[in-house]
Symmetry: C2
Subunit: 388 residues, 2 copies
């Protein structure tokens, strides 16, 4: 028997120092090798985004199959989601930025799920009004990533429920409580909403197939913590007559204070760059961020710093050094001691400011069409027979 890992990763708990390679093995997913990346680059007809080139996305299920199908003129759709419990921070955008890249290169539909019901069920103190309000706020930030409004639909759970529920009902019948308990580690005190919820997170995976009556492959970029939901989905897919959704799993970005994961749940707001932070807070957070530097300038010049543990390097890596030349230069100079942490931070700050201001402009524009993307009714009769 393998030893118990020293970390826990479920959609409801991320705890301990995560060994991502070990986690991948535990979850039974595939690693993303250079061959698959090259194949993806060829299919995309252009360079991969930083998150794929630099191993932030490091694991997958069935990505090769999605590309096979695409090659046979059988395009996929994208799906990712957000549980709205507060403002988004930059890490939350990671899956959406990858989705946006896929949409731009492959011209495929994007489904965004806003799980305001789930967050209400999960967080004892949040009201339904709060999660619904954060849902709209978060949706604007997600749309600001640059999705094509003509090819994007939003499933906002409490507002899209009439369209979602018939399929959710079919999905729920296939999932025994014992599966939900085993996969999510639910204690008996878990409320029955949260027990039911995984059915709703499965709905978008099958929705385009269900609605159109023909099979549409689904590709889900998400944090690897979300894999348990989709394992349940994959297990029941064929029994319902649908294909299993494919997944691309990212590691979770480290927090600015050196904690393992940027989080909205931590005790301090200083651990993450929230998209609603004013510029002076952004600057202050970056200035105070945990790095891989040494205790003195002299020591750092001599020994160099350690980028792999540095929260500032993680920001460069994720998107603020878009070209490899820039990113490799920063990494090399960090490691050699040529680039000190203060200077590195000073270089990053204007880039982050620029991102914030472009993001704010796109977000403002998204207000014009966000409501119109929310699915209200299925484009089929709610009692029509299933595709399955």
């Amino acid at each position: 028997m393998p030893e118990e890992p020293e970390f826990t990763v479920t959609p409801y708990e991320v705890k301990g120092k995560i060994d991502y390679e070990r986690l991948r093995e535990l979850f039974g997913t595939q690693s993303i090798g250079p061959e698959l990346l090259e194949r993806l680059e060829r299919a995309a007809g252009g360079p991969l985004p930083p998150s794929l080139r630099r191993g932030i996305y490091y694991s997958h299920r069935d990505l090769g199959w999605v590309l096979d199908e695409f090659g046979k003129h059988h395009p996929f759709f994208l799906y990712s989601g957000r549980g709205p419990s507060g403002p988004l921070h930059t890490s939350h955008l990671v899956p959406f930025e990858l989705c946006q890249w896929f949409q731009e290169r492959f011209h495929v539909p994007m489904y965004i799920q806003i799980t305001d019901d789930e967050k209400f069920w999960f967080r004892p103190k949040l009201t339904r009004e709060e999660t619904a309000r954060w849902g709209m706020e978060n949706l604007l930030d997600i749309l600001a990533v640059g999705f094509d409004p003509k090819n994007t639909r939003v499933m906002f759970d409490t507002r899209s429920i009439r369209a979602m529920y018939p399929l959710a009902v079919e999905v729920a019948k296939k999932i025994p409580y014992s599966t939900a308990k085993a996969v999510f580690g639910f204690p008996p005190s878990t409320n029955i909403g949260l027990v039911f919820y995984t059915a709703l997170q499965t709905v978008p995976c099958f929705y385009p197939s269900w609605e159109s009556g023909r099979s549409v492959p689904c590709l889900i970029p998400c944090g690897i913590d979300q894999d348990p939901h989709f394992r349940v989905t994959r297990d029941i897919a064929e029994g319902l007559g649908y294909s299993k959704p494919a997944l691309l799993h990212s590691q979770m970005l480290p927090g600015l204070l050196g904690e393992r994961v940027m989080s909205t749940m931590g005790d301090t707001k200083d651990n993450a760059l929230f998209l609603n932070d004013p510029p002076k807070d952004v600057e202050k957070k970056i200035r105070n961020a945990f790095t891989g530097g040494r205790s003195t300038v002299e020591e750092q010049r001599r020994l160099g710093a350690v980028p792999e543990v540095c929260s500032v390097w993680a920001l460069w890596r994720s998107k603020f050094a878009p070209t490899d030349a820039e990113f490799d230069g920063i990494t090399r100079d960090c490691r050699s001691g040529a680039l000190l942490c203060g200077e590195c931070k000073a270089r990053l700050i204007p880039k982050v400011h620029a991102f914030y201001s472009e993001h704010a402009a796109r977000r403002e524009k998204a207000k014009e069409y966000a409501e119109s993307l929310i699915v209200v009714d299925a484009k089929r009769s709610p009692t029509a027979p299933s595709a399955g």
Copy 2:
């Protein structure tokens, strides 16, 4: 410790020979005494229906409170429901007939719930299309009981979900899995839909209060097997800012073959009078029905029969002998041996035929307005704050 009872009664299982008095004690409900009946008759301004006069309704929770409130010009609303798994039989109408009486005497709103999701989750072999189709069929039979369309609303789960879901989400957060497991006796293999479902059965209890923003007392006539659902509802009501629903519990009518309960689930269709049975089947079923008679005419003339175990007597009791004079006459002549079973059945058959033909005419009429009674949207903003 009291002995374990030799029967099981939950919304999902009715088993063994039910001792109704013992069941009432186990459930902790109140018996309906002559004083309460007199009070109800005074408030109604007219005679009670047979099901109340003859003890078919024998247990309650908070009926006195509902009458107190009514006396203070604070009227209640009625709620009862149906899980659509097949055609209705005459016993299914028992709660709706009582609701119709209340509506006529007290001029109060009626809410009918059709739980097509629940029956799909509960019955392994039924499809969602079948439960939805039976839902509409059953609804027509229920409306044919004679509800005032201007004062009646239908919550058809999969079709009313947009209106119901926000309140269902709030309810579900208050119900731990452990409660559902304990109350309904769910094994771990129970699907997560059925686990969630009790939240939806609670929704109509609070819906008029939630929608209007003012407290409206709820009265639920139902089979006593449904009490566990509403115990859960009553437990969480005050925490959500609503008053506990009041209940009127009926015994379950015995089947025509002498089984304890008329059922759609039994092996044989001969145990119940289905509302879609053609007249010749109705006649045949009554002719073959189990009675409390003796093995020979001579013996029956001498010893009399036993009405209490007789399925035909149960039909007279429920509604086919509306006046006490007629009912008491039949009961007396049965017991004395003056009335033989064949003659009793021959007397009943034309009454049942007459009921079927009047019912069919009213059902036809209900087709004109049934759709219009189904709640689609709440008459409030889905994100407005709760009454609670």
